[in-house]
Symmetry: C2
Subunit: 309 residues, 2 copies
């Protein structure tokens, strides 16, 4: 009985040793040294190569190292009858809350212009609105989105939420479905994308959506790079329809050095760090989910591959 591991090469030795120590009853193998393919019952993966997982005929389930499973579903030959477990630990939720609050507050309080004022020694004490006069919209009200929205409510913001299906959350004015999108967006001065990536949400951050926002709205994308139509973003920034974009995820990661986003004055780039899994606690979360699934216990993070999240 063995587990196969696919992570970035630089970290694979560490992951192997860590998971092995947490799961002594299972042999943890690296993707490059799979041994007998029929031994493999479990796969723990980030972005496995296309066609890779179907080699394992006895695969019982796949663990996605991350809250999204799009990087697994991207494999056109994925065995669709194998269950997928995603990874969302308390620390992942915590880090996402931190990132979203940091950047919402940064935009709300105009930190970037204060930093520029310092560089030219300007004392320019404008009074910005307080959070109860600022509307923030959160797209996606899953585990991470709901936690971020709740924290923004605690901080005092007016918070709106949007999801595919109807939600009800204390302090959050909720909208749902394609029919509710324009209404939701109409008041969002700061918009945070926390959606799962599916066929429906691919390129959802596009020209039409930007036009539904108030002029000068700010975008924060912590979902996936594929949510964003990059040319539409550049066009909306050029006309001023969008005031700025803060992007943590990109269609190609690392973002290529010649990408125009790097030097755009209204784009802030962070390198997919909003809610990285700390390998230490992430490994513990993965081991716990895996053991629960094997033992027939409920696993909250079991996902529906056909729905896509």
């Amino acid at each position: 009985m063995a587990l196969i591991l696919h992570v970035r090469t630089a970290r694979e030795q560490w992951w192997q040793a860590h998971l092995q120590s947490l799961l002594p009853e299972i042999e943890c193998r690296l993707w490059s040294q799979p041994g007998n393919l029929n031994d493999i019952r479990y796969a723990v993966v980030w972005a496995p190569p296309a066609g890779g997982l179907r080699q394992f005929k006895n695969l019982q389930f796949i663990v996605s190292i991350g809250a999204g499973i799009d990087h697994v579903l991207a494999d056109p030959q994925l065995p669709m009858d194998v269950p997928i477990i995603r990874t969302t630990g308390a620390q992942m939720t915590q880090r996402m809350r931190e990132y979203v609050c940091l950047h919402v507050l940064r935009l709300h309080r105009g930190l970037d212009s204060q930093i520029r004022a310092q560089s030219s020694r300007q004392w320019h004490n404008v009074i910005s609105p307080s959070a109860d006069q600022r509307t923030v919209g959160v797209m996606g009200l899953g585990k991470l989105g709901a936690a971020a929205a709740a924290t923004l409510v605690e901080l005092g913001f007016r918070v709106r939420g949007w999801a595919r299906s109807p939600h009800d959350q204390h302090g959050v004015y909720c909208f749902s479905g394609a029919d509710g999108l324009a209404d939701f967006l109409s008041q969002c001065e700061i918009l945070v994308c926390m959606l799962p990536l599916t066929a429906e949400t691919d390129s959802i951050l596009n020209r039409q959506l930007f036009e539904w926002l108030p002029t000068g709205a700010h975008l924060i994308n912590v979902g996936r790079g594929e949510h964003l139509h990059e040319d539409d973003l550049l066009a909306a920034l050029a006309t001023g329809q969008l005031g700025s974009a803060t992007l943590d995820v990109f269609r190609q990661e690392p973002l290529p050095a010649n990408h125009p986003f790097w030097v755009h004055p209204a784009i802030t780039i962070t390198p997919h760090i909003a809610s990285m899994i700390d390998p230490e606690t992430g490994g513990q979360e993965i081991a716990r989910n895996l053991q629960n699934f094997v033992a027939g216990q409920p696993v909250a993070d079991l996902v529906d591959a056909r729905r896509g999240y």
Copy 2:
């Protein structure tokens, strides 16, 4: 029956009209046009000139436009028997929570180095600790300090508090008095000064205090410029004892253009905006406190001039 107003000249017409509309029964006069000095019963002031208030022989109380009263007590000829009411509205507390959380999160998540990385097109995704592994210390547990500490607890940080007298606050590990200061500081990776300015707290942010902090700790000062020993700060940054300083208040404001803080790579300057009073709501707060005091109702913001806050 008249009120005298001392605010910055650029805003005095607005303040006069605003307070007059809220207090129709009282004549609101500008400092430059006081009329008969014996008419003046109330003074609403920011940093009144030395010797100014003692001219008004019938003064019943002084309203400080701000949470601190140090700018009133700075007058060596201040009539000490006249009560002082400070101004701390809900919006002031709200803005302070926003500022403190923004800058604590900014330091916690290393935003400055991410901005530098973007300017050199570097994709550098380090994993920072999550907030539950980060200790933040709040000095001063008055109305604003307690609110900021509570919000930091909500955000997930380990929070310590220090005040002159013992306090008890949910989720905050409280220390007090000169005896408790070194213990309090010993774990504070990020230290936020929210103290009132008194003879005891003048220059409290000095070399000894910095040495009690863990090496590389970050300082945020939203108290008063006089809390900070400026030369000791520069020395502590030079040795690395302090990692950075984020300063919203200064001994001289606006900060003079030739001040070394402007161009120091480890100092972030904001122009006394952490919790400015929005004149609209600040005026309402002042009018309410004034009317309550006149009517003999309790005024929470009545301060003890001899204690200094």
